[in-house]
């Protein structure tokens, strides 16, 4: 089976976000594999262990993305592809990423593509489904179980806490939800082997794309942090007075009623 994993690097969950000139500062930030993509990685390895084949992990990013790709290789992926757009593209959106991936998959023989349900940074959840549309293959989002039986695929997906059972066929794209599996730690032998596994680097040119082809369809107007949370206030006095004060505060100060 030809299995592909779409991976994105995101800020480490412990990183503090700083905004400067409408942009998120990433200088010196620590990056990790998007946690939902780790479920995709783990599932890909498990499916390969069961059905054989090869796992290729693909990312659209920059030179620094190599680190996360090596981690994926250490977890057990067979090959990695870095589509490095640092030199060619300034602004990106989901369209950009999908367009690039579409071109990448153009000549690939695909059985299964796995992606995270969302990325924890921008959380659009669009790249997977839109790519499947462009490739004209079925897709199922937020999956929590995946059973492949020949050409038939049985899936359980998370629907706001309920489970929906879906049957579909290969080739297929799925996006992975928490609960699907427990991602493994890259083992030390895995880390040492990862050094020797192939990591291919591509640029737009290699995919026959021009900068104009991938120009974003959306424009980011502004980026700002949520207002800082202020300390709570404890009302005092008789219960009746407290209620009156609360109503008046909700009305006049926070203007919610």
């Amino acid at each position: 089976m030809n299995i592909y994993v779409l991976m994105k690097k995101t800020f480490d969950t412990e990183e503090k976000i700083a905004v400067n000139n409408g942009k998120i500062e990433d200088d010196g930030a620590e990056f990790i594999i998007n946690p939902y993509d780790e479920y995709a990685m783990e599932e890909a390895i498990k499916q390969r262990e069961e059905h054989g084949g090869e796992v290729t992990v693909v990312t659209v990013g920059n030179e620094d993305s190599e680190k996360q790709l090596r981690t994926a290789l250490a977890m057990g992926a067979d090959k990695a592809v870095l589509i490095n757009i640092e030199e060619d593209v300034e602004e990106t959106d989901q369209f950009t990423t999908v367009k690039i991936l579409e071109a990448f998959f153009d000549d690939k023989d695909v059985d299964l593509i796995l992606a995270g349900n969302v990325a924890i940074d921008q959380a659009s959840g669009q790249v997977g489904p839109r790519l499947a549309e462009r490739l004209n293959i079925p897709y199922v989002t937020t999956i929590t179980d995946l059973q492949i039986k020949g050409e038939t695929v049985e899936i359980e997906r998370d629907v706001e806490g309920d489970i929906e059972k879906v049957e579909t066929t290969l080739p297929l794209l799925v996006t992975c939800q928490q609960g699907l599996n427990e991602p493994r730690y890259p083992s030390l032998p895995g880390i040492m082997k990862a050094k020797k596994k192939p990591l291919e680097e591509l640029e737009l040119d290699d995919l026959d794309l021009e900068e104009e082809d991938v120009e974003p369809k959306t424009k980011t107007i502004d980026v700002f942090l949520p207002p800082e949370k202020e300390a709570g206030r404890v009302l005092e006095g008789e219960l009746d007075d407290q209620v009156k004060e609360l109503v008046s505060l909700l009305n006049k100060e926070s203007k919610v009623i």
Binding site: R70, Y185, L188, P189, G190, I191
Partner: protein
């Protein structure tokens, strides 16, 4: 490692040599693989071990065994075991990073350390081919777990005073072991014990003893102050029959194994101390950022900043020093052939070359750990006294580090002794240096010190080395062979030598980093170095002064003190201001950063 031969540095040589930044290995040289190994270890500790801490602290050792086996599956037990014997044969930086990251697991890290270090390494280093084939593959994966049994009720630091006996049976097939070994880590579940006993009452020898050899049993679990997550029991040997092929190393040469293993144990404890110090800083800064008094986060008080910065600057120096030592191992091991690397004795020899560095690292890192744990509790106020807070366990867990693998007192006293031995054997030209220095001091003129980054620090380091030679030289001259009775002086000298190693390691690391990517990106490192070197130099001066006063009197003393004054003349650094700057970045990042 490069194909070319690495430069070789003598153990203890730092006292007299002037090194270049490019001569030392620093954490900034670690590769992506090193950091991935560190991350896997850290994730394992946070994801698997910490959730089980309550069970482990309650002595539910089935969890320890399970976690150790899980660690084995990840490769966390095989780093120091050659590939040929089922391990990973990684470099010493990798295995050190595993140790550093595991330190957060408290008592469990002691279980891990006892298994991979003192439990397995005697076989890695001194086992014969059959013993290695038989035991190492299972130890590397965690299928079997190891323990180390040296200490006895009546013999701690005096290891050779052991009373456990071994007697060859009449058939000549087995040794019969009798005795008691005390405070044996992992004894609740270990399958393999390295046990020391005396054959015929005098030949101190190591044996590989399996748990199910008849006659072997363990006493009740000890009730300890800390590291409760580790198992500690007495190992009882009653007519235990050990096959003759299980003699480890040579008969009567058990002390060679014991001393070599101690060296390893020491640098590993030092690395654990660095990991623990970093954790202490993180716990302290997170708490003080969040805790508000007088409507202010208590991290914004300058006294809090002083504490955080002192912890961090000292951690930086220790980290620089201990990874420099590990780098020394790597540089020397790089000169060995693959055959020599597989023959563990050669590896042990390389580590033993740096026993002075190992002892100094152990002393400095474990004492800083205790200091950090203590101050981290203090910064938590009353909450730090409560068991819900990780810092409470850290405080109790840290204390043992100053005691085991040779008390810090023993380790300190080993340093001047080893230096003197090296000088006598002609391995280090210490005496020549000391003599030429005396002449130099007579003529010494005050020196103009530059104001470029690190110039002042290098000047202080240069003078600290001279002060060290003066103090050690004087004590040696005055007391000769009887110096070993002057334990206070030995300890003073060891402290001076240790400060020199730490100062130099911090300076060279910072300089190497500046050479690589400039001043701007290394501000924090520069501040750490400036603060550490100034404070260390003050301690060097105090120790030297005390040593001179205890060794000389009258005019000679006055002359020596005047020389010391010349050597210590400098424009002091404003450490309070620099510490506030250091703390600002730590408070911002909520952890120890470089």
């Amino acid at each position: 490692m490069d194909e070319t031969k690495e430069k070789f540095f003598k153990g203890g040589g730092f006292l007299i040599e002037d090194l270049q930044a490019e001569d030392v290995i620093t954490p900034e040289d670690f590769t992506d693989e090193h950091w991935m190994i560190a991350k896997t270890t850290e994730d394992f500790v946070i994801g698997e071990v910490l959730p089980k801490v309550d069970n482990l602290e309650n002595h539910e050792f089935d969890h320890s065994v399970k976690l150790l086996k899980q660690a084995g599956e990840l490769g966390l037990l095989g780093a120091d075991v050659p590939e040929e014997y089922g391990g990973l044969g990684l470099d010493k930086i990798s295995s050190s990073l595993i140790t550093e990251k595991l330190s957060r697991a408290g008592g469990f890290s002691v279980s891990h350390g006892a298994h991979v270090g003192i439990g397995s390494l005697p076989i890695v280093f001194f086992g014969n081919e059959a013993q290695k084939q038989k035991y190492l593959p299972q130890l590397a994966t965690g299928e079997k777990l190891a323990a180390y049994a040296l200490t006895e009720p009546g013999s701690g630091s005096d290891a050779l005073g052991a009373k456990t006996t071994a007697k060859l049976n009449e058939a000549g097939t087995h040794y019969i072991l009798n005795g008691e070994k005390q405070w044996i880590t992992n004894s609740a579940f270990a399958d393999v014990f390295v046990v020391y006993a005396k054959i015929d009452g005098d030949k101190f020898t190591a044996f590989i003893v399996e748990r199910d050899f008849p006659g072997l049993s363990t006493g009740p679990e000890e009730k300890k102050m800390g590291i409760k997550s580790s198992s500690t029991r007495t190992l009882i040997l009653e007519d235990v029959e050990v096959p003759v092929e299980n003699v480890l190393g040579e008969i009567g040469r058990g002390h060679v194994i014991a001393f070599n293993i101690l060296n390893v144990g020491r640098y590993k404890l030092a690395i654990g101390g660095v990991g623990g110090s970093k954790l202490g800083i993180e716990l302290a800064v997170k708490y003080t950022n969040q805790r508000r008094q007088f409507n202010t986060p208590i991290s914004s008080f300058s006294l809090t900043k002083e504490k955080l910065a002192t912890m961090a600057a000292n951690t930086y120096a220790n980290e620089s020093a201990v990874y420099r030592t590990v780098g020394l191992f790597e540089q020397s091991l790089g000169n060995l052939s693959q055959d020599a690397l597989n023959d563990g004795k050669e590896v042990a020899k390389v580590i033993a070359e740096y026993q002075i560095e190992c002892s100094l690292n152990k002393v400095f890192c474990t004492e800083l750990l205790d200091y950090v744990a203590d101050e981290a509790v203090q910064l938590h106020g009353g909450y730090g006294f409560m068991q819900e807070y990780e810092v409470e366990r850290m405080y109790r867990d840290s204390r043992i580090n100053r005691i085991f693998e040779g008390t810090n007192e023993i380790n300190r006293m080993l340093v001047p002794g080893s230096l003197l031995k090296k000088a006598m054997k002609g391995e280090l030209p210490l005496l020549q240096k000391a003599q030429s220095l005396q002449e130099e001091l007579m003529m010494m003129m005050p020196e103009e010190v530059g104001t470029e980054t690190l110039e002042q620090e290098k000047y202080l380091l240069k003078n600290a080395k001279k002060i060290g030679l003066v103090a050690a030289g004087l004590a040696a001259q005055k007391y000769g062979q009887k110096l070993e009775n002057e334990q206070e002086l030995l300890v003073n000298i060891a402290d001076i030598v240790g400060e020199i190693y730490n100062m130099e390691s911090a300076i060279l690391r910072t300089e190497k980093a500046i050479n690589k990517n400039g001043l701007e990106k290394n501000k924090q490192k520069i501040l750490y170095t400036e603060v550490y070197v100034q404070e260390a130099f003050n301690r060097v001066e105090a120790n030297a002064k005390e040593t001179l006063i205890a060794s000389e009197s009258g005019d000679t003393l006055r002359m020596m003190l005047s020389a010391l004054r010349k050597l210590t003349r400098h424009d002091p650094t404003n450490v309070i201001a620099k510490k506030r700057e250091i703390a600002a970045s730590i408070i911002e990042e909520e952890k120890y950063i470089v």
